[in-house]
């Protein structure tokens, strides 16, 4: 075990996997000379050389497409898309090629590709640069979607991603990069996909988050305990596809209440899917309608006050929980 930030844990995962498997290579904008926009790949160019750490032109569709082709050719590429906002330019390749080839070719062609991208708002980058699209990617069958909330998970999940035979969309919330945690140094430390993590046990309400929103959920649980004597169970989904509904449903059957927290917009968002599944599988156990705490239905503004008002906060989560206890 060693204490490190999430960005360093991700770097360790990349290093260890590259040392383990020679077919793994990295490509992306500014991952080499610049050291990575969020310093995840810092030092890897020096260690592995230009053939395995490739600085690309600004050409998202091209590099994802090339990553897919390289995977078809027997390599295990990782493409870093700098931020999720630029993944829109690669959406066709991700959705129409990566997610579809295995099915359409009747199982002849699979695409073992890891696509990493930073996501989330809260840094005053304004509307074009603040997206949370985990739910969008989870919408497409054929993709796996991973969104770690802490350093250890980031490492275990990223290492696991490289051992998958399918395309993994690996989404890193920018607010999580600097969070420190204890990280195992076992080179075979893997975290299985589709296994949610109960971060905190509780009896009165289940709060579900993923990626960045896990932290609002956890802070809200602390506030609820200290100020309201409400015991909240917090679940970190870790992966949206595959999705561990069993853990969520078991928890809701115990607490009888469920609040979903996400940074993305509520309308048409992933929280709606979760709420529907809770309704389908635990309807009779619910003491209140499932609540969703999400981003307000506007593009994220630059102004700090407006951005804060738009993003879901722990106070919003507390309010949602308290609303469930009102008669």
């Amino acid at each position: 075990m060693a204490e490190m930030r999430m960005r360093e844990a991700l770097r360790e995962a990349l290093r260890e996997e590259m040392l383990r498997d020679e077919t793994i290579f990295l490509m992306g904008e500014d991952i080499g000379l610049y050291g990575g926009s969020y310093a995840v790949t810092k030092g890897l160019l020096e260690e592995f050389g230009e053939a395995r750490v490739i600085d690309t032109p600004i050409a998202e569709s091209g590099i994802v497409g090339a990553g897919i082709g390289a995977a078809m050719g027997g390599l295990r590429p990782m493409v870093e898309l700098m931020t999720i906002n630029f993944s829109f330019l690669a959406l066709d390749q991700i959705v129409n090629s990566a997610a579809k080839l295995y099915h359409m070719s009747n199982g002849q062609i699979n695409v073992p590709l890891v696509i990493r991208m930073a996501s989330g708002g809260g840094s005053q980058l304004a509307a074009t640069h603040s997206h949370s699209l985990e739910g969008l990617y989870a919408h497409f069958p054929g993709l796996k979607v991973v969104c770690p909330s802490n350093a250890a998970d980031a490492k275990g999940l990223l290492k696991r991603a490289f051992r998958d035979d399918n395309t993994v969309i690996f989404i890193e919330h920018t607010a999580n990069y600097a969070i420190k945690g204890e990280v195992p140094d076992d080179p075979d430390f893997l975290i299985e996909f589709g296994v949610a993590n109960i971060l905190r046990e509780g009896t009165d309400v289940t709060i579900v988050g993923y990626g960045g929103s896990v932290h609002q959920a956890t802070r809200a649980a602390t506030l609820l305990e200290e100020q309201e004597e409400i015991s909240a169970e917090v679940i970190d989904l870790r992966t949206l596809r595959p999705l561990d509904m069993d853990t969520v449903i078991a928890s809701v059957k115990k607490t009888n209440r469920c609040v979903i927290v996400e940074d993305a917009w509520r309308f048409g968002g992933f929280g709606g899917e979760l709420a529907a599944q809770v309704m389908e599988h635990a309807f009779d156990w619910l003491d209140a309608p499932v609540a969703r705490v999400a981003c307000k239905d506007v593009p994220l503004p630059y102004n700090r006050n407006l951005e804060f008002a738009a993003l879901p906060s722990e106070e919003d989560v507390v309010d949602a929980v308290l609303g469930m206890f009102k008669e």
Partner: protein, 333 residues
């Protein structure tokens, strides 16, 4: 493709115009330096991309436009906004996120807009605005309005598909568009030669678009090239491509560790500084003296200080405006 270098001495521009160029470049320089200071104080936040070193590109090109013309540019947009005559107070207020800002505090540094000046925006997704410039050209043609669109972008854009799609479409549809590439040698930390297998003007030439490469640290050369390109467009001959060779003195954004270039290189380009060159030229030509130059320094200082003061005093946008401008309603102006 032709490469043009115009010596300042050979220009037909008068002393008044050149004095204006000098003032505008100095204003942008001071404005940007101030922004850098304000960023470290936390007054400006988010991503901030400074324009110092590239002033001649904005000043020389904008001066070639008429009032009716339109501009779309990238996120390194303060210089273009100021050169186009946007109010420095309101540009600064935008960087402060204030309600008085040109985008009401919603856009920030990368997303400046002032439609009253034909300034249709800073675009933060690389190359996203190139197709928009084609569409604006279609509008100009179909409505017979005769306006030209100046589309400004960095060398990093050339890797994107939208760059190529836009160039092709604009030639096919003969749109009055001036594509203006500020080649500052880097796209973030990637040297331009590592991201393109050819020269930029050759790309335009491949689409049958006339293209020139000019010294982007020579405001007169930039101006004359843009004037020609704009005249070309206005006379119905379609798009024109300018590559302006320039250099940014500061990092890509405020968080750039600058591991990819040497200090010597920055020094080398500072020796070719556009402001210094024009100043020297004007002094040698007897069109500027030290006293007048000091006056200009004082003036830009005052304009920038006032912009900061205005921004400090301006109100924050109200939380009750959060949902404003999501959809345009029939009742909206």
């Amino acid at each position: 493709m032709t490469t043009e270098t115009t010596s300042p001495a050979g220009t037909s521009l008068g002393a008044e115009q050149l004095g204006k160029f000098l003032y505008e470049m100095m204003l942008i320089r001071r404005f940007e330096e101030k922004c850098g200071e304000l960023y470290t104080k936390g007054k400006i936040r988010g991503f901030l991309h400074l324009y110092t070193g590239q002033e001649a590109c904005a000043v020389g090109s904008m001066a070639a436009l008429e009032e009716r013309d339109k501009i779309v540019t990238h996120y390194r947009d303060h210089g273009h906004a100021l050169a186009r005559g946007l109010d420095p107070d309101r540009v600064m207020a935008e960087l402060f996120g204030k309600a008085t800002g040109v985008s009401g505090g919603r856009g920030g540094s990368m997303h400046l807009y002032d439609v009253s000046k034909g300034f249709l925006g800073g675009y933060a997704i690389v190359a996203a605005h190139l197709p928009l410039a084609v569409g604006l050209g279609m509008a100009s043609n179909m409505k017979k309005e005769g306006f030209v669109t100046l589309c400004v972008f960095g060398d990093g854009s050339v890797g994107e598909g939208e760059f190529h799609e836009a160039l092709n479409l604009s030639v096919l549809w003969n749109t009055p568009t001036t594509f203006f590439c500020e080649n500052n040698l880097y796209g973030m930390g990637v040297p331009f030669h590592a991201s393109l297998s050819t020269d930029i003007p050759k790309l335009a030439a491949a689409y049958n678009m006339p293209a020139v490469s000019v010294d982007g640290m020579d405001v007169i050369a930039v101006h004359e090239a843009t004037r020609k390109a704009v005249e070309h467009a206005r006379s119905g001959k379609g798009p024109y491509f300018i590559e302006a060779m320039t250099y940014r003195y500061r990092g890509h954004s405020m968080s750039d560790p600058e591991l990819y270039r040497l200090k010597d290189e920055i020094e080398e380009y500072r020796q070719r500084d556009a402001i210094e060159r024009l100043k020297t030229h004007l002094m040698e030509a007897g069109q500027l003296d030290e006293a007048r130059y000091q006056e200009l320094i004082a003036r830009v200082e005052q304009v920038v200080d006032e912009a900061v003061e205005f921004s400090e005093q301006s109100p924050q946008p109200g939380i009750d405006t959060l949902y404003d401008h999501l959809y345009k309603e029939p009742s909206d102006g």
